[in-house]
Symmetry: C2
Subunit: 132 residues, 2 copies
DNA sequence: ATGCAAATAGTAATTATTACTGTTTATAGT
DNA sequence: ACTATAAACAGTAATAATTACTATTTGCAT
């Protein structure tokens, strides 16, 4: 199954969005990325941010994370990995445990489905919030 | 840590919502639960559905699942378990593998956070869609 | 340099969800 | 059974995140 070949053109906006994402360890929402890139391109449109984020994410260059709190977050690191969201401050952080690829195979067997990947979201109280 | 004691009163609406959820193996969204319970209580309000769903879910009687497609889904089975969403038909199904409770402990150690639980969402093509 | 489609800015529309308000109703105390 | 009280309600308005639309700009192949 080949992806549809779309000739993508360079755009200052997309480059700036990608840079902003790669320069942070946070997992910003679309609107905070918007705030960030506006420092560089003051009249960039929020729609442009959304369009590029979803394009980059379907292109596999970034990761889209469902934070479970009603906002999508984005991750400049596209390698599959797990996340945690703090129930207190709603920050999203990377969790450095190996991706359980066996789990996908196991689930394929028992469910009959094709599994592309899985995501794990830990929920709890982050170290900072724990110590007030 | 004790939950705040709220004296809850019976309501036909809440009972009907809970029954609707428990009678299905699907994982309906708020609006499809609304459609369902309207067969029984035609003038029920959508706000009532949302209010009861979030109350039942914080009360631990049902599960709220982030489908990763912009809608929250609800599960009448409150035991923690994993789910799969089909990228084709967007149906959510239960995945019958044991909950990895060791993972929570492991993550607590390496992250310093308090982990309450984790959720796993498999993404792929369900058996039905696979066979068109 | 020119033409064309991709990408954009700005705005409007949509969707899911929450908040508000005046009315109804479950239930505890008489 | 009667009454008072606050939980729950229906109906509607408001909010928030995201997507769609449109006329204009721009990257890039010829």
């Amino acid at each position: 199954m080949q992806e549809i070949e779309t000739k993508r053109r360079y755009s200052k906006q997309r480059e700036c969005i990608l840079n902003a994402l790669r320069q942070t360890k946070r997992h910003p929402s679309a609107s905070s990325i918007y705030d960030e890139v506006r420092k560089e391109i003051p009249n960039i449109s929020l729609g442009t941010v959304y369009r590029n984020l979803s394009e980059l994410s379907t292109g596999g260059e970034i990761l889209k994370i469902d934070a479970g709190d009603g906002t999508e977050r984005y991750d400049g690191c596209a390698e599959p990995h797990y996340h945690m969201i703090c129930r207190c401050c709603h920050s999203v952080s990377d969790i450095d445990v190996p991706y359980l690829k066996d789990l996908d195979k196991q689930v394929e067997k028992i469910s009959g489905a094709d599994i592309a990947f899985h995501s794990v979201l830990f929920s709890g109280t982050c170290e900072r919030c724990k110590n007030n």
